[in-house]
């Protein structure tokens, strides 16, 4: 191979998205006739998943297949590239902002300033909240003790009256079992099922609405700039195929999982349009607060809001 790309993802090789990532690598190798060789590293095996971006920017890896939300400590703007929270309803709307809403150009400025090039997103879909208590609507979130991932999510749920508990992911399973926490926000129903969340708790929101992370592919900018134009096009096209393939396969997988876990006694809650709007209102208040944290965050929040208005998601 003329070019070797070492890419790390936080996902496991065994998971659906892990397999999709491998498909991406195979596609690139095939389309380039072997001129590009991709070495995939799964489950953060080279560096901790959250540090993949830095490792790629520093040239130990070449590519980062995690998500922008891990980088909010650098600039709060990454929140609006990684997980907008209570924003778009489908992966397709979220991709549309990137490709047709001026998102790519704004995101690229931010990525470039850290020595990285954003290639694209691959969004699995809406995540689900899992709980040992029923979650029929926003009122049930009052005093709901849950393990929340760090960042804006904690603030939104605190605003809604929930009691977010900061806890290492390694303790979540024991904590659910001993009832220290009522629930957790881990991932979508399919991923949650595979790591055994529904062996422990029997309530979940579905279809989800609160969080839809955009996993990304970002490549070290020097490495990217070195690629000849035809290979760049191959990587970009393969990435768009991954986006399509990933969202579609998760659409199917999540539907199947939902049917399965219902049979196993899990109750699913499909929040009403009104309930979703209530959540979105709280989320939007936080978007604006986070938008004030940096000029880049402001630009992205405004861009999302105006795009959502254009496509009729917001009034």
């Amino acid at each position: 191979a003329d070019y070797t790309l070492r890419i790390q993802t936080h996902l496991s090789a065994e998971s659906l998205n892990g397999k999709n990532a491998q498909q991406f690598a195979d596609d690139v190798e095939r389309m380039s006739g072997g001129r590009i060789d991709i070495e995939m590293f799964y489950s953060g095996s080279v560096v901790k998943s959250t540090e993949t971006f830095d490792a790629a920017a520093n040239g130990v890896l070449d590519g980062d297949m995690t998500g922008g939300a891990y980088q909010t400590g650098k600039n709060p703007a990454f929140q609006f590239l990684g997980d907008i929270m209570g924003g778009y309803e489908t992966p397709w709307q979220q991709y549309s902002w990137l490709y047709y809403g001026g998102g790519m150009e704004k995101a690229q400025k931010l990525y470039n300033s850290y020595g990285m090039q954003l290639i694209g997103w691959w969004i699995p879909g809406q995540e689900s909240l899992s709980s040992s208590k029923p979650l029929p609507g926003p009122a049930a979130l009052k005093d709901w003790k849950f393990r929340s991932p760090p960042g804006m999510e904690t603030e939104i749920f605190a605003e809604l009256g929930a009691s977010p508990i900061v806890m290492d992911f390694g303790e979540v399973f024991s904590a659910l079992e001993t009832k220290i926490i009522d629930g957790a926000d881990a991932s979508n129903v399919t991923t949650n099922k595979s790591i055994g969340i529904y062996d422990l708790v029997k309530h979940a929101t579905y279809p989800g609405f609160h969080s839809m992370p955009s996993d990304h592919l970002a490549i070290n900018k020097d490495v990217w700039d070195d690629l000849p134009d035809d290979l760049k096009a191959i990587v970009e096209v393969a990435m768009q195929k991954l986006s399509f393939h990933n969202s579609m396969s998760f659409e199917v997988a999540m539907g199947k999982t939902a049917t399965e876990i219902q049979k196993e006694g899990v109750t699913l809650y499909n929040w009403s349009q009104k309930d979703r709007e209530e959540f979105r209102n709280f989320a939007q208040k936080k978007w604006q607060e986070w938008g004030d944290k940096s000029p880049e965050a402001r630009e992205l929040v405004d861009s999302h809001v105006s795009f959502m208005k254009e496509i009729g998601l917001l009034k």
Partner: protein, 214 residues
Amino acid sequence: MPELTTSGQIWVGGIALGLVLWFVFVSPRLVPMLKMTMHGVGDDDRKFSFVDIVTLYMASVLMFVVAMIVSIMFYEVVMRYVFEAPTLWVEELSRWLGGVIFLMGGLYAMQQRAHIRVVIVYDMVSRNAQRVLDVFGTICIVTFCYAVVSGYGKTALKKFETWELYGSAWNPPIPAVMKPLICIVCAWMAVQAISNLIMDWSKPKVIHDPADDL
């Protein structure tokens, strides 16, 4: 000096002030105890270099970090279980403090010659051969430390200058502090290793005799 954000200046200033006060008023009383080796054995006429003293002063602060972790974890349990008001900061602060002792505890262990090693060959050879092995070991240590500092220094400095935060709700400057700390600790580890080599050079051959313990 790197330019710092305001919040960075407050953190750095506050911690520096606390350390200076501690070094002046508390450390001198703790250092004699910290000099003692693991099992209270060790020669009383042991000499301490300036490097040793610096490390021991650091240790006089670090030894209390575990007590702090215990205290804040207890506070969190009480707040969460009794008052149903969990904090956002305890988990992250304990993680942070833990990282500090994991790293810097290694310096104290180095000063105390407490790092795990296999001495079966070392004990068999003559004192001069031991000196050769000591030099070889020190070269390995210094090489490792140099590689860490040279490979990570640039990133670490950038994290410090931009005062990069952890990205959570409490949002402490963990990357901004811990990444530079890794480089500082490794640099000092090399210094301590060289100091150990010099201080131990003229030591007579010590044989680990089980009878000593009885």
